[in-house]
Symmetry: C2
Subunit: 417 residues, 2 copies
């Protein structure tokens, strides 16, 4: 299709075998136009398999085909969840680049007014998965205990499942994950002999890196059983078990005194109502020269996580706006020293993950099934689009106790050779 | 006095010529203890001239002497304003280093519980000077139209009246002010031929620097008549009148389209309720590749400005916490890219200003009077203490429109040669 034969929102009637007797074929095209309109009229072609289609004035970025009128109707009833479910179960198919399609939809729906009104209505009915002690354990188990062999297919050799830091866009995934760990350690100005507490340590990579390269002792907390088992085994194998202790417990159980507090990619699972508690815990475990770093997905303004992601992928997750993150620091008089937004780095990280994931799709299918393959493809592609379009942010926040004057004079040390 | 002969909160009875017949001299010492307790028991000696004194267990940092019981009582009635007024009119005198005394009091009262409860009570009664269009004009006139010759005595050759940026602590004031302007221009990544709008331009220094060294055109807004007159004269003298236009008008009158928005040291005068308006104005004047920078005094958590400063020096001023600053960006979907806290640089800037001010005290006295000299000394010394103790922060916030992907990949360009 090219622009010359397309017209805005037009419907071309075709033979329509899915039309029931007595039903007007016009209604399908109206429904398709409605879907496109709800999404802010992106340059995407929508059709029902073997039936109507709505074209766009521009050359379409991609083609979305619904298996039937029924699948289209189900999406109209709850577009933010059903789009993902329909893609996962194959009743919605896509021709064209999935990331590009999602970027296009994210951009157009951010500009359109109707979807945001609809989204607000859905938000009002939303009851997130609570992050009580037990709720957090269920939520974390749902995502992180899928199986270490699955994650090792596409996270690269570092097994770091958070935004990497690319000194240049040409860096590899593993290089960028290592650079991220060094960026974090330099921001914390770790010195040999110091102690660090880590809240939410994933497969333990950062803790090992800090111990090996910065000479610090680390206590690292995590409630994912599979991740802690993996991390302990790795620490033992690498001869660092005496320097790094992995604790299978909630961040709310952190006690003791440390020189630095670090949390990379846990805040998304904490829940805004618990932010003052997190700040109080960080404050209590730091001395007057204490400093900390929190690295988290965020938002330009408060908004719930994309509902399909929250329902199918990350129950209980919520990326906060800076006004919400402030509730970690302000009640405990912690001083924010430095915030860096790395959203383009997360888009790049996710592109690398997605490429490795696609290369391993057959092995994922053998571990799970086709629906799982499509579901996680959509999650990764949607996340690329979230960060590349500015729908999602990545904030690294460095903080210190209010009275700490032993902080770096400038940030030049982060960029020295 | 040394530690060996001091005792905590003890009162030494002396000849007390200020005691009225029938009045117990014990009451003065009780009052003195009360003052010290209200301030969180700092290691400071308090006394009434020729009368009682309260000593401390530690060697006192300084000695504070009240001219009479009456002046002491007036301070107890409203310590946060009357301390400053009494210092200004000479009914309260200080032996020892003024900055060190104020740092000591800031630190001890931050730790004590009573002052903060008292402060909260005072805050409840507080009616700040509103920043309506007319209110802002009055508030700005009060401070910035005192006279350019006065400010030129102690701001250094740049006439920049905001936090400088010291590449190393050894930099001079003028070097650091110039480095600050370059730091701001690099953060904005200004390119030759671009246009910049500046909200609150002081004596016009940054606008001239941007035009001269970065080849941009600048429209700079300011409602201080004296500052604008000075800036225009300077632009004409330096042959930059064709590149820089100074507009004597409120930031709320900004219109047009620009590549960058910058505001250094104006936000303190905007008022939190106007932050969404400021953000809307910044958003409206930037294209999809727009970016901006706001530089402001801030807080670790919401708290009103020190009441004496607000009353005598900066009516209508308020340094916001980051949660409050977020109300500039979040309602307009502006993306925060980078926040740097430069509070130690502001302490250093203020030390340099205070030294120049003290060296010019005789000329200030000739322009005004002794009370004015003392008032501004206290303001500058108190500001050093505010930043050095972490009571005040200095935030530089870089932001961009949400869809702008043409942002620096890392911050290394800020630190390159």
């Amino acid at each position: 299709m090219n622009a010359s034969n397309a017209s805005l929102g037009s419907a071309s009637k075709r033979d329509n075998p899915s039309t029931e007797p007595g039903e007007s074929p016009v209604r399908d095209s109206w429904l398709l136009s409605k879907v496109r309109s709800l999404l802010g009229d992106p340059p995407v072609e929508f059709s029902i398999r073997g039936g109507d289609r709505v074209r766009t004035v521009k050359a379409p970025v991609a083609r979305v085909t619904f298996a039937s009128r029924k699948s289209l109707l189900s999406i109209l009833a709850d577009p933010w969840v059903r789009f993902g479910d329909s893609y996962s179960d194959g009743t919605l198919t896509i021709e064209g680049d999935l990331v590009e399609l999602l970027e296009t939809i994210y951009r157009s729906s951010a500009m359109g007014d109707k979807p945001s009104r609809m989204r607000r209505a859905v938000d009002l009915l939303h009851r997130p998965h609570r992050n009580t002690l037990a709720g957090s354990r269920d939520n974390i188990h749902h995502h992180y205990d899928i199986g270490n062999p699955f994650y090792s297919l596409w996270l690269g050799s570092t097994m770091a499942y958070t935004c990497a830091y690319y000194p240049t866009p040409a860096a590899t995934l593993d290089e960028a994950q290592t650079a991220k760990m060094d960026h974090v350690c330099r921001k914390l100005r770790l010195r040999s002999g110091e102690s660090v507490v880590e809240a939410g340590c994933g497969w333990g990579t950062l803790a090992l890196h800090m111990a090996r390269h910065y000479g610090v002792r680390v206590r690292a907390f995590n409630i994912s059983h599979e991740q802690v088992a993996y991390a302990r085994e790795r620490a033992a194998r690498e001869g660092l078990a005496g320097k790094v202790e992995y604790v299978e417990d909630d961040y709310r159980s952190i006690s003791g005194h440390y020189d630095a507090f670090v949390s990379v990619g846990m805040l998304e699972h904490v829940g805004v109502r618990n932010y003052p508690t997190l700040g109080r815990i960080a404050r209590a475990c730091l001395g007057s020269n204490g400093r900390g770093l929190i690295h988290s997905i965020g938002r330009n303004h408060p908004a719930r996580l994309q509902p399909w992601i929250e329902k199918r992928i990350f129950p209980g997750a919520y990326p906060p706006a800076l006004s919400e993150m402030s509730q970690i620091f302000e009640p405990s008089d912690l001083s924010v020293l430095d915030i860096e937004n790395l959203r383009l780095h997360y888009a790049q990280t996710l592109r690398h993950w997605l490429a490795l994931y696609e290369a391993a799709a057959d092995r994922v299918r053998a571990m799970f099934d086709e629906k799982f393959v499509r579901m996680w493809r959509l999650y990764l592609a949607g996340s690329v689009a979230g960060f590349s379009t500015g729908t999602l942010q990545l904030f690294q926040v460095v903080f210190a106790t209010a009275e700490n004057n032993d902080v770096p004079w400038t940030r030049a040390h982060l960029y020295g050779s």
